[in-house]
Symmetry: C2
Amino acid sequence: MRISRFILAFIFTISSGVLSAQEISSPDGSFTLSFSLDASGAPTYQLNFKDQPVIESSRLGLDLINDSVDLHMGFRILDTETTSLDETWNPVWGEESEIRNHYQEFLVKLEQVSTERKLNIRFRLFDSGLGFRYEFPVQEVMGHFAIAEELTEFAMTGDHTAFWIPGDYDTQEYDYTESKLSEIRDLMESAITPNASQTPISETAVQTALMMKSEEGLYINIHEAALIDYAAMHLELNDKQMIFRSHLTPDAQGVKGYLYTPAQSPWRTVIVGESGADILASRITYNLNEPSKIDETAWIKPMKYLGVWWEMITGQSSWAYTDELRAVKLGETDYSKVQPNGKHGATTENVKKYIDFAAEHGFDGVLVEGWNEGWEDWFGNSKDYVFDFLSPYPDFDLEGIAAYAKSKDVKMIMHHETSSSVRNYERHLDEAYQLMKDYDYPAVKSGYVGNMLPRGEHHYSQWLVNHYQYAVEKAAEYQIMVNAHEAVRPTGVARTWPNLIANESARGTEYQAFGGNKANHVTVLPFTRQIGGPMDYTPGIFEMDVFNGSHVNSTLANQLALYVTMYSPLQMAADYPENYKRFPDAFQFIKDVALDWEKSVYLEAEPGYYLTIARKAKESGEWFVGNVNGLDGRTGEIPFDFLEERKTYIAEIYSDASDAHFKTNPQAYEIRKVRVDSKSVLEQFSAPGGGYAIRIYEADKSELKGVKKLK
Amino acid sequence: MRISRFILAFIFTISSGVLSAQEISSPDGSFTLSFSLDASGAPTYQLNFKDQPVIESSRLGLDLINDSVDLHMGFRILDTETTSLDETWNPVWGEESEIRNHYQEFLVKLEQVSTERKLNIRFRLFDSGLGFRYEFPVQEVMGHFAIAEELTEFAMTGDHTAFWIPGDYDTQEYDYTESKLSEIRDLMESAITPNASQTPISETAVQTALMMKSEEGLYINIHEAALIDYAAMHLELNDKQMIFRSHLTPDAQGVKGYLYTPAQSPWRTVIVGESGADILASRITYNLNEPSKIDETAWIKPMKYLGVWWEMITGQSSWAYTDELRAVKLGETDYSKVQPNGKHGATTENVKKYIDFAAEHGFDGVLVEGWNEGWEDWFGNSKDYVFDFLSPYPDFDLEGIAAYAKSKDVKMIMHHETSSSVRNYERHLDEAYQLMKDYDYPAVKSGYVGNMLPRGEHHYSQWLVNHYQYAVEKAAEYQIMVNAHEAVRPTGVARTWPNLIANESARGTEYQAFGGNKANHVTVLPFTRQIGGPMDYTPGIFEMDVFNGSHVNSTLANQLALYVTMYSPLQMAADYPENYKRFPDAFQFIKDVALDWEKSVYLEAEPGYYLTIARKAKESGEWFVGNVNGLDGRTGEIPFDFLEERKTYIAEIYSDASDAHFKTNPQAYEIRKVRVDSKSVLEQFSAPGGGYAIRIYEADKSELKGVKKLK
């Protein structure tokens, strides 16, 4: 069998007139990508890192709908092109102010012999891994086509350890499971925890970005970049052979995508390194996206914000104005005639309290949820006309609040929960954005809770991916920043549309009030969810025992560290002002921490266990360090060699007390102020579910007085 | 069994504390409606006409989704109300200038005993039949609910003759079949002819408006009125018991509707009479719709129009600009770089020719299809971004044509083919309507050809019914008139939104170029499709042998008659100007015929066989008579007693020659001018598939000179 295949391949190679195996190397030579057609004329690729395979020979191609000859075999190579690029670009916001885009590119032009169809595959090999995509050029024999499935394989070299969540067409809001690939099948059922909308795929399907570690100590991350007008990809594991295969999100009829030439798939990415830090430092995802399509970006500004939100999440107040209405007819229901429930959060009075607090403590914005009519029956009813995004409740003075916020130099952040009724949202989008402009709201948090309308569609199908993109591009017309929750997980599209300042698309802080997250959750997210872009994780909870009885599985110091470790240009301080007033010294860190960075240094990075990042603020030049820790207490050693030599700094260290614990003693923190320089090494304990946060700033003599040196 | 049921019913009646059988009569006493709860507490109704049952005892109710106790039995009567109304209203346009709305109303308020749910059923009994609907009042135990099926029954009294088309979720574009109800099952397969999008329902499902005749000579018509935010109803026949049951159009998941209180179903209508004329004269459908929601209606004006259309339908020219493109990327495809196909219809030059002809012959408007980019791949590709409704082809000078039309006092009619990509249409609706205002287009012909996007949705589901309504209401904001093709069949909604000036929603003239319609098709349409509102049938074909080899099954005189028999405030003269120039004398009738009427008299009306209508024009006071004939030649006798007594008129009679025949000799017509008065009786031959058209106007002595009296 093996021999006959080899002979066939050999014959095919001769007859096609070109070499069927080709190889390129990454700029620094650490990676090798080889491409070949197998005996059946199927495209295959293999990725080596330092001469060892990371992805073993894996097939490429697609199954098409209503097509007698699918697009995954019988090809010949028409032509190949090898090029390279080395450029540097400046993101509007980000973990660093300059990003190098440096790769070798290999473009292989294929023709399916029996059908004369052309399929190109473009590989880009970076020093941190691989990106590749399918391209469908304009051609006589192929205009429109529909995808039954994409057949991209990622053949693993062994039974790696993975940090995974269940493959699901409608949610990513799961806790991560750490297991061997071979254990996924047995663990799947318990990994599928309840969600407001969920459609798990199979016993071995997982989502991207998927973080793995090999027994040899390699860190491997599979995701996608530039997901535009295409269904989101999941990974279906063949757990006998340890081969992942792409599994796209279907539409209501099971079709995975409708394309027409010229077209391309998103990039499939494989980031590889010898440490977790290599994964976090890779910029492959952004680099594979197009440059910004927004020319004038001065209106896109990072924001630190408070919000009328946590009090609803914890059940203390309500989004809804009244408990009387079984159903609301927007434009007909007269709210002035119903009895308020007395616990509505978005009242003018309450909002002004938040504005006052924001102004007092230097926050940029205030988010208000539940400000608009319709929250009485918004969820679970497949209600089409669920919100108009225009009509405030009678106790929310839209105009008065706007004026008050302006007088305090605070920006209001709009909230557009769509209840996944996306047609309704699109119908109101122009007016809703215009209302924001009229009242000076620079940003919107949008939401897609619950099952999709149109019914049968899924959150991550091409139809919806197209919608989220539409909402972002239209927002750009209005110079509005978007923070979309429950939308498809990001894939670096924010490079092209930097007004997409954040997404949720993972299990965020809200689940701490819904029974809690795993205490090591935040040590995984940067390796998974955040590979594609910033997350609006909404950290900053100081009171872990919340009103509804749920417990936040985190220490207070860990909460502070999240402002550094969970990169986002949009950062919330999610707890009540009252709780910040209880801990003003700790709150100071949230006030001080920057939002936008000149550079980031990944000091320690072990998914599931610990993560320490140092970042230099863009404007002030101050450094901030964040450490989040896993389930066991740990003392780390951090050299401060990221600091400029021959300068002296003050470090304000917010850390867990020695008896701190995410469950039993979360509010035990210590704050100390020490003198440091580039030769300092910090030995620092982090409690279970804990961490620490540090502000470091250059200090002159007068400031240094009385500040002791770090020991 | 019978006895025990009776006893149960009796006991129930006693215990419910109210009479379980109640009866009302129509204003003139001809109809009796009785309502009762049966032994199981199921609501039932029976309709009698002149003491004979028309609808035998039939059940009412609904099956709900995820509901252990469905909403069709176990009720008790809480209360009943009997009221009446007699009012007259004036439609913006129509078959008559005054419509009397005169009924007895019976409202029964039910409570389902085990669930405490309230369901009201409102009956309105007119002198021409019955309307009833379900109402779901605001109540504690029922807010949102989803419909599995509506269970409304219409129990026929016998094996009636029906004029039916197959029940289908996506098309009404079928020829009618005349058969006994018992024959539907055997004839269904052959009745389902191909269509661009079709989803037939079952072997015995038919569409409304369904026209029937009983053996006793009763004419019975079942349809619905005020179809708003609800799925369109089909009728599923139990052909053993001759009971129709409602069958709603499902969404992609099979759900038939999502409602929330207060809500109501559309009205279910049963129009009954002793002649076909009684059916046509009934205004039940409009009367059951709400009064106009457009206050200022001066901008809504009937229009007679020409169009760049028939030349595409017959294959002589094309909608598309080029044959080169397999796929079009709107905004990216550069049409200036492709080879025109040389047969594009919507060229500036060709359009100006139509404008010239329209101006010369007094037409109000010119429709142009294929003016905008995207026609190369618009059909059958599930293409989302298929048109932008804004970008003209390079050979269509939008601005120049608008100026030219204005200089000739001709209005342009816009064309918006959506290719059933409704999200895309809604995204562009505002800009598209604004473009129309910018270039002074007062009306739009919209189209929904092909399968629906979102995929899995159907043309007649609640989701799409909601869309068509949205497009009409938004058009009203822009003071734009809508003529929607392939949309759901009308149900009198034009009373409420009189800018909905026409629909297609049936097999129109275009099928005469696709193999031909049955020659008696137009004798059926007024009894079926037009019960709900005007049809843009696009008559006026003078050359029956069309370029693509198809034959128009109609005589030329029949084509003229359609302007009278097929009522619409929007009437096309669909043939080429060249063909009108060949028959200027016959063309004169199309130029003369009015569009809006003071009153209509239904002189002869036998569905499938013949139909003669006289209408008095609103402004001129002229009368127009149209006769369309079935498959056999026939001589009818028409008394002119609709004319004012003691006045003398000239009648211009356009009729079939004695040897005319729709197939073999369609262009054999005669025109004669005679003197008539209210005592005149016209004996007039109509050929197979033929007919006649008459213009009648009061004449003074000088005009009457030399005009002979009608013999």
